[in-house]
């Protein structure tokens, strides 16, 4: 029935991600490039230069760089597009089997239409969004892998609507004439709403029935599907929207400065134009016998107008195109350095760090807030079943951690199906299973039945579980080892092996898990015919739904749960409920009703689930250990020394989160107080916030008076610090823990400010039980109120929103798929690499970019302003001082390499130092290295240099006999080729012979030396004074290194004897308390040796001085 569907003009399945074709490439690409303001500006200049009366420079001075920039970009775009074309073609020409008039025909993907029925085979890509009609597997089930869609590599189940699943073979399907009414195309991957009308009956369609384009069919021989959305309407294509373009603060500053410079340029143009008007009136009019005015320019005002534009052209080199190009090149270089860094390479997962965005590098050096996910980021997301509480009895307790290593339980004699990798140390639990304790059995039965794990049995006894979450996998594996082996499942049954006997339960319903419910249940009918609901879920929700008779058990279990949480374990509570046949019938009817509803179906389903998950009997609780990633506490310690505030945003429960906070050293015992905000109402949250704020108010951040009196209700763990330690105890020593529902209130408009001010005064903030949306809101909040650079790091799909809204998003390529990585700007596999990314690469990038910009603006001002001064001596006629080749090539050839080299390679201190002294990171946060003030300093310096460059030669030549154009001293030394060139283009090479004639004159060299000295000496003196009197930390670090090298030399020379005993054990840099901890940990041996070196030099200053002198005379500088 293609003809019928043609009428609706559905999108064809041909996709086009490419932007251009051969004909449209040039105009479209140029149009896009000229949308950049800079490019348009230069085009405008080019047009100005084509007007002979205005043109002070010939047109090639602009067109050469412009063409270079445009063509590089165009080539880059073209290659990108070529690959897109190639992949489009490849995708569009993939074959698929389409059922046409009762027979299967091979068709290219691009020819597939909406309404076609497609046959898919195992491991094939799905060609379009399909409605699953039938499959080769029983019950119309089929399995798909959605790695391309959401990055998750585990398999998902799709099931066809039961009526269509019977249409097994092509002949039946060919006569299928149902009608599908569904929602319009959208980008929600996990939602689909529609209805199938077939043979006068309605069937609801959900996401469970859909096969989305981009999925791969797995473990299924073949299946048939009806094309619902094709080509650009598919969810895959709908999702491939452009990500938000992120800009760095330096970028924004640079754009502002460029605007200012334009203003400055216009001002200079106006000044010179006025000058021109005056000159033409006073002097030029008299000078007409030798230099008549151009015929169209008959008065001085018009001349001044033209002169304005001429000067705009000449002075445009203050903002050349190469600025933008160089910035991009430098960033690209930094990104490559990140990709190449061996120390951010994880050999276990064989992944190197990857800079997925090249535009954000320098912002890495300015981060003030890190928002971190907990699961998979701070922790490994590897779960091990660690403890459990069954019927009030806790198991898995390691009684004596200091005793001999407990033996790992060996399950194999008891259970041949056990997983050999499973570790458990408490044999009482195994005993209890063997004895046949009913509760224990029921406990593990829940674990083996209530889950959504898929099993794969490659050979007898070799089970592989595919779980949606590692928690679930850990739980099912635990049950397996304790004799309740989950073997296989079908949509209607679950087969297990319970204590060696195979049992098949019929599965009546799965009440699935979601973030709001935080629990899942199954209703099964045992072989004996008993109907039971098994439920597992978060303790808070589950404990509310228990039968009142469980009160006592509940109390005991809650105690256990608290214990577990305190150990940093993840907990789940398990419960069951017996259902009578009538109850089940009644509920199943209401459930079906809710299921069929087209509007608010999900709400209704939730209500139906709620209805039956009541009056449950508590079985116990499980505790799963969540292992910390390598090096997390150290990383957090170093980052907080670098004055970076770390907020943990997690979906976990409060106790777990707080505990992880302690184990990561985010929260420490000597913190003055940890505020916990967990109010459920606006008022309580406000009050809690206020009280927290109030306590801090009593102790203003830099307290000149004693520390706050410890609140009587909760005395701080550490004894009140003595006044001498006061400085160690300032502002930072508070922590805030806030709950998801409290956060919802705190994020409301009227409390926002209060929340931010309280939270920012705290050293550590932990938000627990937050939804992905709230994570993003918190990030936005800080962005809005603090104007600080934020970095979000996470690994899971729930972190994507946070990663996208933060200034910098970092994805950990870990266990939870690659969705976060796809959304991120930087990705690597270990949280600890973050310290290197920020403290080393970020710091360097920031430093290099700042120095690059300073240098760039300096050199261009020094170069261009000479024309301004010359204007006063050439009748404001916009005559250039330099040769036009020099002007053309100045930025793109003569000076590009030095600035680029500095921008890419410069290191002020080596990488180990910046990790040793995290305080070195601070200038970036405070934006000290490049701001408006620094900019003005550069500009002033540039103008000073231009004055020297112009007036020194001016003075020399004023008195000097042979009159030379000052520019000649800069013309390149290629006389022979120039002469040849001159013979070819006599009009273009005016400067022939200048080099030979001028460079032979000693005066020229003397002038160069003089000008250089005058330019450099004041700067040198100023920098030296700054360094000597107010050294920056990085300078001191460098100096110390120098000293250290000297000391090394001293040691070699055997002159070390002069060290007299010093009682002080000071550190070279005690800018920060808590540093000692690092040092005592043994990692900082070098630091203490540094300190010793300092003492040696201090106590024997006389000889060290002489030594210093002699060595500095000998080697001058130290090789780094």
């Amino acid at each position: 029935d293609r003809e019928y569907n043609e009428k609706f003009q559905y999108a064809s399945n041909c996709i086009m991600t490419s932007k251009y074709n051969i004909i449209t490439f040039l105009p479209v690409n140029l149009f896009e490039q000229f949308q950049e303001v800079a490019n348009t500006y230069f085009l405008f200049l080019l047009i100005l230069q084509l007007i002979p009366q205005i043109s002070s420079l010939s047109w090639f001075t602009t067109i050469v760089p412009l063409a270079l920039v445009l063509s590089i970009t165009a080539v880059k775009d073209a290659t990108d597009d070529y690959f897109r074309h190639k992949s489009d073609n490849q995708v569009n020409n993939r074959q698929s089997q389409v059922l046409i008039r009762g027979s299967l025909q091979n068709e290219k993907w691009m020819n597939v239409r909406v309404g076609d029925i497609i046959k898919l085979e195992n491991n094939q890509f799905v060609a379009a969004d399909l409605l699953l009609l039938s499959s080769s597997e029983p019950h119309g089930l089929c399995y798909i892998e959605t790695a391309e869609l959401d990055g998750e590599t585990n398999m998902k189940v799709r099931q066809s609507v039961s009526v269509t699943s019977e249409l097994g073979d092509p002949n039946n399907l060919a006569s299928f004439d149902g009608e599908v009414v569904c929602e319009p195309p959208n980008n929600k991957l996990d939602r689909f709403c529609g209805t199938l009308y077939w043979r006068e009956k309605k069937y609801t369609l959900t996401n469970q029935n859909m096969l989305l384009r981009g999925c791969v069919l797995r473990n299924t021989e073949a299946c048939y599907g009806l094309v619902i959305f094709a080509g650009p309407d598919t969810k895959l294509m709908q999702n491939s929207g452009r990500t938000k373009f992120k800009r760095t603060s330096i970028d924004r500053l640079m754009n502002t400065l460029v605007l200012w410079i334009f203003g400055f340029l216009v001002c200079m143009g106006v000044i010179l134009a006025v000058g021109n008007a005056v000159w033409e009136r006073e002097v030029g009019s008299l000078f007409q016998s030798y230099l008549p005015w151009d015929p169209p320019v008959d008065n001085f005002l018009f001349s001044a107008f033209l002169s304005f534009w001429s000067y705009v052209i000449i002075l445009n080199t203050v903002v050349p195109i190469s600025l933008y190009v160089s910035v991009e090149v430098i960033r690209l270089g930094h990104s490559y350095f990140i990709n190449w860094d061996q120390q951010m390479f994880c050999s276990q997962c064989n992944t190197a760090a990857e800079a997925r965005t090249t535009t954000l590098n320098e912002e890495l050096g300015q981060v003030e807030y890190i928002f971190s996910d907990k699961t998979g980021t701070l922790t490994q997301n590897i779960m091990s079943f660690n403890k459990c509480s069954i019927n009030g009895q806790t198991y898995g307790e390691v009684t004596d951690p200091l005793g001999p290593q407990q033996k790992k339980l060996d399950f194999t004699p008891f259970n041949p199906l056990a997983d050999p990798d499973f570790c458990f140390y408490d044999d009482t639990l195994l005993e209890s299973v063997k004895v046949g304790d009913l509760h224990t059995h029921e406990f593990f039965r829940v674990l083996s039945l209530c889950h959504t794990v898929m099993s794969e049995e490659k050979s007898e006894g070799e089970l592989v579980y595919k779980a949606q979450s590692p928690d679930e996998g850990a739980l099912v594996t635990a049950a397996r080892n304790f004799g309740f082996v989950f073997r296989s499942r079908t949509p209607g049954t679950i087969t297990t092996t319970e204590m060696g006997q195979t049992v098949t339960y019929s599965l009546l319903a799965i009440l699935d898990f979601n973030n709001i419910r935080k629990r899942m249940s199954v209703i099964v009918r045992s072989p004996e015919g008993r109907i039971r609901l098994y439920c597992k879920g978060a303790d808070t929700v589950l404990l509310e739904r228990l039968h009142p008779c469980n009160q006592e058990l509940m109390n005991i279990t809650s105690d256990h749960l608290n214990e577990y949480a305190a150990d940093g374990l993840r907990t789940l509570a398990l419960a069951y409920r017996d259902l009578s046949e009538d109850e089940w019938e009644a509920w199943s009817e209401s459930h079906r009703c809710a299921d069929k509803a087209t509007d608010c179906r999900e709400d209704r389903l939730a209500a139906a689930y709620e209805e039956i998950e009541q009056d449950m009997m508590l079985l116990g609780a499980t505790a799963i250990e969540d292992k910390l990633q390598e090096g997390v506490p150290e990383t957090i310690a170093i980052l907080s020394l670098a004055n970076i505030k770390i907020w943990v945003l997690t979906g976990d429960k409060q106790e777990t989160a707080v505990n992880i906070g302690y184990s990561c050293k985010m929260l420490t015992d000597d913190m003055t107080e940890v505020f916990i905000i967990s109010g459920h109402t606006v008022q309580s949250v406000r009050q809690e916030l206020r009280s927290g704020g109030g306590k801090k108010l009593r102790c203003p951040p830099p307290p000149p008076h004693p520390p706050p009196p410890p609140p009587p209700a909760s005395p701080p763990p550490a004894s009140p610090s003595p006044p001498s330690n006061l400085m160690d105890n300032i502002s930072g020593e508070f922590a805030l823990v806030i709950n998801g529902h409290s956060l919802a209130h705190a994020l409301e408009a009227d409390m926002e400010g209060e929340f931010v001010s309280t939270a920012c005064a705290c050293k550590a903030v932990i938000c627990c039980r937050v939804t992905p949306l709230q994570k993003a809101q918190v990030v936005e909040l800080i962005k809005k109120h603090k104007k600080a650079v934020t970095l979000a790091v996470g690994d899971g799909a729930n972190d994507v929103s946070m990663i996208k809204s933060a200034h910098i998003g970092v994805g950990i390529s870990g266990q939870e798929g690659i969705q976060a990585v796809l959304a991120s700007d930087y990705s690597f596999s270990q949280f600890r690499f973050l310290q290197r990314l920020l403290l080393v690469h970020g710091r360097w990038s920031y430093l290099r970019m700042c120095r690059f910009l300073c240098y760039f603006f300096y050199k261009n001002f020094a170069f261009t302003m000479v024309h301004f001064w010359f204007g006063f001596f050439c009748g404001f006629s916009a005559q250039t001082v330099y040769d036009q080749y020099f002007i053309t090539l100045y930025n793109i050839v003569y000076t590009s390499l030095p600035v680029l080299a500095m921008g890419i390679f410069d290191q002020d201190v080596p990488d180990q130092r910046s990790l040793e002294y995290p305080k070195l990171y601070e200038p970036g946060q405070l934006n000290l290295l490049f701001n408006k003030r620094e900019f003005f300093i550069c500009i002033t310096q540039g103008i000073y240099t231009s004055v020297v460059l112009f007036f020194v030669p001016y003075a020399v030549f004023y008195f000097y006999l042979t009159v030379l154009l000052p520019c000649t001293k800069r013309t390149p030394l290629f006389s022979l080729p120039v002469q040849t060139l001159f013979r070819i283009f006599p009009n273009q090479f005016h400067f022939v012979g200048s080099a030979q004639s001028t460079l032979l004159q000693p005066v020229v060299w003397l002038t160069i030396a003089l000008a250089t000295a005058i330019c450099i000496v004041p700067v040198l003196a100023f920098r030296f004074l700054k360094l000597d009197l107010k050294p920056q930390l990085s300078d001191t670090v460098r100096k110390n290194k120098l000293r250290q090298k000297k000391r090394k030399m001293v040691g070699r020379n055997g002159r070390l004897g002069a060290r007299s005993g010093s009682r002080r054990s000071g550190y070279a840099f005690a800018h920060q308390e808590g540093f000692g901890e690092l040092i005592t940990s043994g990692k900082n041996m070098r630091l203490s040796s540094l300190a010793l070196a300092t003492f040696a030099s201090k106590h024997s200053s006389s000889w060290i001085d002489t030594l210093q002198h002699s060595t500095s005379m000998n080697n001058g500088f130290v090789n780094d």
């Binding site: 002979p52 030029g284 008299l286 016998s289 030798y290 230099l291 008549p292 151009d294 015929p295 350095f337 860094d341 061996q342 390479f345 050999s347 064989n350 190197a352 001596f873 050439c874 009748g875 006629s877 005559q879 390679f905 180990q912 030549f957 004023y958 008195f959 006999l961 009159v963 030379l964 154009l965 006599p986 005016h990 022939v992 012979g993 000693p1002 005066v1003 003397l1006 003089l1010 000496v1017 040198l1020 003196a1021 030296f1024 000597d1028 009197l1029 107010k1030 050294p1031 300078d1035 001191t1036 460098r1038 100096k1039 110390n1040 120098l1042 250290q1044 090298k1045 000071g1066 040796s1089 003492f1095 500095s1112 005379m1113 780094d1120």
Partner: protein, 368 residues
């Protein structure tokens, strides 16, 4: 001991990163090269007192002697300058400067006596100087056709547009075209020595050797190749409006005529500043005489053709000897001495500052 072991570790730290990656799996580990791991050798100057202060003293010590040398050299150069514009009523050229018109056929001459109180040894260079003459004006500078001047026959008959309004005259192309050529300095200056015995001796002035070699042999060439007859070569062109004679009659000497006339070449090299001098003639030292120009009375005879009073310009004649560093230039010597002394002084000041404040500050910083 500790320091040295630490340093060894410091340097090896990077290199001892784990060996080859996991077996059969292709390792994506980045290469361990100095470039990729950012360990390229580098030189990092640190501005310590030990390096900066000596640098200041060294600069001072180098610059001051150079400056003194330059100053002495410059002072030994003899220079004489005379303004012959004729602004004053008393000036001999006053008349010429007053009643001037470009078309006057009869040249106006005036002679100016002057006294050289010092004898000039070795070669003496004679310059003319103009003031308030904007040879560096943009429209002026570009008003020339280098192709034409290079002997291109096509450009000879079709001068570039840049030459406007001096490209065509009476529908004939101007050779050489443009405002620069049109405004060529055409006063002729002659120098006479008034012998104490009353006779006037004309001093021989060399016309050649005043232009750059490259200009004379590369940049400027007559049209028509090696055709010795310039009149034919310049057929069909007309002289610049202000000129009295066509370009092929600038000199009788074949090697100094047409576009390669050195006076013309010197004029065509435009000056950078509105007050400038251009080399006019060279007075070569005669072999048998000790002095090129003995002390005594001289007369400068000027054929006054070049009007400058309309734009308040000045015309000067300069006689000067030169040294290894060129002509008289007191500025360079003084500037060197000044910069050298300032450096030295700064060095002392910085030393004091460093000694008084810097040291204490530094040690405090570190021992804290």
């Amino acid at each position: 001991m500790m320091a040295s072991t630490y340093n060894a570790k410091d340097e090896d730290g990077h290199i001892t990163v784990a060996g080859p990656g996991g077996g059969t799996l292709r390792s994506r580990k980045p290469e361990n090269t100095a470039f990729k791991q950012q360990r390229l050798p580098a030189w990092q100057p640190i501005l310590t007192a030990g390096t900066v202060l000596p640098a200041f003293f060294v600069i001072g010590l180098i610059f001051i002697p150079i400056g003194i040398g330059l100053y002495v050299t410059s002072n030994n150069i003899k220079e004489f300058e005379i303004d012959y514009t004729g602004v004053d009523m008393s000036s001999p050229c006053f008349n010429c400067s007053q009643n001037f018109s470009w078309n006057s056929t009869r040249p106006c001459t005036c002679s100016i006596p002057f006294y050289l109180d010092q004898p000039y040894e070795s070669n003496v260079f004679m310059y003319y100087g103009l003031s308030n003459f904007y040879q560096n004006h943009r429209r002026y500078v570009k008003s020339r056709d280098d192709s034409q001047l290079n002997g291109d026959s096509e450009a000879l008959t079709k001068p570039s547009k840049e030459c406007e309004p001096y490209a065509f005259h009476d529908n004939k192309p101007i050779a050489p075209c443009g405002a620069i050529a049109n405004s060529m300095f055409n006063d002729s200056l002659e120098l006479f020595y008034n012998d104490p015995n009353g006779t006037k001796v004309q001093i021989h002035l060399m016309k050649t050797g005043i232009a750059w070699w490259t200009d004379k042999h590369v940049k400027f060439r007559n049209p028509g190749g090696n055709n010795p007859n310039l009149t034919v070569a310049f057929q069909g062109t007309t002289k610049p409006v202000n000129w009295r004679k066509p370009v092929y009659e600038l000199d009788s000497d074949q090697e100094n005529d047409g576009f390669i006339n050195e006076d013309f070449i010197v004029w065509m090299r435009t000056a950078a500043l509105p007050t400038f001098r251009k080399l006019y003639r060279i007075i070569q030292k005669k072999k048998d005489m000790v002095l090129t120009l003995p002390r005594g009375n001289y007369t400068l005879e000027v054929v006054y053709n070049y009007p400058v009073r309309s734009f308040e310009g000045r015309k000067r004649m300069i006689l000067s000897t030169i040294s290894w560093m060129g002509g008289k230039n007191p500025f360079l010597g003084i500037a060197y001495i000044t910069v050298g002394s300032v450096c030295f002084f700064l060095g002392v000041v910085l030393l004091i500052i460093h000694h008084k404040y810097g040291n204490r500050n530094n040690s405090a910083d570190i021992s804290n």
